[in-house]
């Protein structure tokens, strides 16, 4: 009796937040609504028994995307005045409305036309899971059954980072991204940035380790670690990293590189790219995860930092 009421309240709230974040005049307010929406969605995922997704939503949708959007709003401030004086013509508005209604209607029809028993591979995954050595079926799918997808996703992230870096001015290539943050070294923010990151690092590493058999894993862990690093930067306890440091670049590529090496190793020993020989499954998965962790942390943090804008002094 309680559960449907809760669900309806949460759904109504989410709809209101979603609409609000689109129609809000102030960009700051829109981003605040979006962050609240992301954090609340994590609650929804928990109710739907998707704990891993809830973790990712809380980490990415809540904190990281919010920070990213705020950075974008900051850069867009200069164009905001010009944008607010633009008025779309009636024809454009009608076309936009029709398109939006069409897409929403199509989605609604598609959802209602879903088969009663949704097609799912879960019955096939569960018996095969013990062979992978991990207890969390999501980790098993991501790193054993569909490891190729994870590899390609990691490569896409690295390419995205290179794309973001290419937006920086030529003279600053290899320099430090973002502005030089300033904060009182004895102030509250510096205090928080000294106390919170150690806790965050421990929690992040714990989530990484727990991902083998419980909800968690490298992605959520990397998000927490990247957020802690950003916190240290925002409190001016450390400057943004120089993007021409070899160790930074090595950290960015180590994940996909190790992944590919393991894949070739599988080709050689088990007859298929990314095949795991018997008994080697768990150690290889662990190796891939440990290599992907620095990649993800660096890529996420650097994506939030943006392209290099300050030439590094040699």
């Amino acid at each position: 009796m309680i559960a449907p009421v809760v669900s309806m309240v949460v759904v109504a709230l989410l709809l209101w937040l979603a609409v609000w974040s689109v129609v809000a005049h102030d960009a700051f307010l829109a981003v605040a609504a979006f962050v609240v929406y992301g954090l609340l969605l994590a609650l929804v995922w928990v109710r739907l028994a998707g704990i891993d997704v809830a973790l990712t939503e809380a980490a990415i949708g809540g904190g990281l995307t919010g920070a990213l959007l705020l950075g974008a709003v900051g850069r867009l401030r200069r164009t905001e005045a010009a944008l607010s004086t633009e008025h779309a013509g009636t024809g454009t508005r009608i076309a936009a409305a029709l398109l939006a209604v069409g897409v929403a209607g199509g989605l609604m029809i598609a959802v209602t036309m879903l088969p009663e028993q949704p097609p799912t591979l879960a019955p096939l995954v569960v018996p095969a899971l013990p062979a992978t050595g991990v207890g969390n079926p999501i980790t098993g799918v991501l790193l054993a059954f569909r490891a190729l997808d994870t590899l390609l996703e990691a490569i896409v992230l690295v390419i995205a980072l290179i794309g973001v870096w290419s937006f920086g001015p030529d003279h600053a290539w290899g320099g430090r991204p973002g502005p030089r943050y300033s904060a009182d070294p004895n102030g509250m923010l510096a205090y928080l940035a000294r106390v919170l990151p150690p806790l965050g690092i421990v929690i992040g590493i714990y989530l990484f380790w727990a991902g083998a058999d419980h909800p968690g894993g490298k992605f959520q862990s990397a998000t927490i670690l990247a957020a802690m690093w950003m916190l240290v930067q925002m409190a001016a306890l450390a400057d943004t990293p120089r993007t021409d440091r070899n160790i930074l670049r090595a950290g960015i590529v180590v994940g996909p590189l190790v992944f590919i090496v393991v894949g070739v190793f599988g080709l050689w020993t088990a007859g298929a790219f990314l095949g795991y020989p018997d008994g080697w499954s768990k150690p290889l998965i662990l190796l891939i995860e440990m290599a992907l962790l620095p990649t993800l942390v660096l890529v996420l943090a650097l994506l939030m930092n943006g392209p290099a804008t300050r030439k590094a002094v040699p």
Binding site: I2, A3, V5, V6, V9, L13, L17, W20, F28, L29, A32, A33, V35, V36, L39, L40, A42, L43, V46, R47, A49, I51, L55, A58, A59, G62, G63, G66, A67, L70, G74, R77, P179, R180, Y181, S182, A183, D184, G187, M188, L189, L192, L196, L199, G200, I203, L207, A210, H214, P215, G216, Q220, T223, I224, A227, M228, M230, L231, M234, A236
Partner: protein, 95 residues
């Protein structure tokens, strides 16, 4: 017991929803910054209650993540607001 915990969680979520009205109406930027704070304590409370009701232990991990990330989001908001207040001057942040 589980029913009670779930209703308590529903109540907390309702409180968060009502609190968001202030975030929406709040005349200043501070009210918007409070949004992440409000969600932080509210959603975490609701999550812990739901986790205890369903017996799923890993919900506490979600609460941990939410605690860290909502703090991070709040700080990002505050930093952003500070930078908007002093776009040109590199004043010493008395934060």
């Amino acid at each position: 017991m589980a029913e009670f915990l779930l209703s308590a969680a529903a109540f907390v979520v309702l409180m968060v929803a009502i609190g968001l009205v202030r975030v929406a109406r709040g005349p200043g930027r501070a009210e918007r910054m409070m949004a992440a704070q409000l969600l932080g304590t509210g959603a975490i409370g609701a999550l812990l209650l739901v986790g205890a009701a369903t017996g799923e232990g890993s919900v506490v991990d979600v609460a941990l993540t939410l605690a860290l990330l909502s703090a991070f989001a709040s700080i990002a908001f505050v930093k952003f607001a500070m930078r908007q207040d002093q776009p040109a001057a590199r004043a010493e942040d008395a934060l």
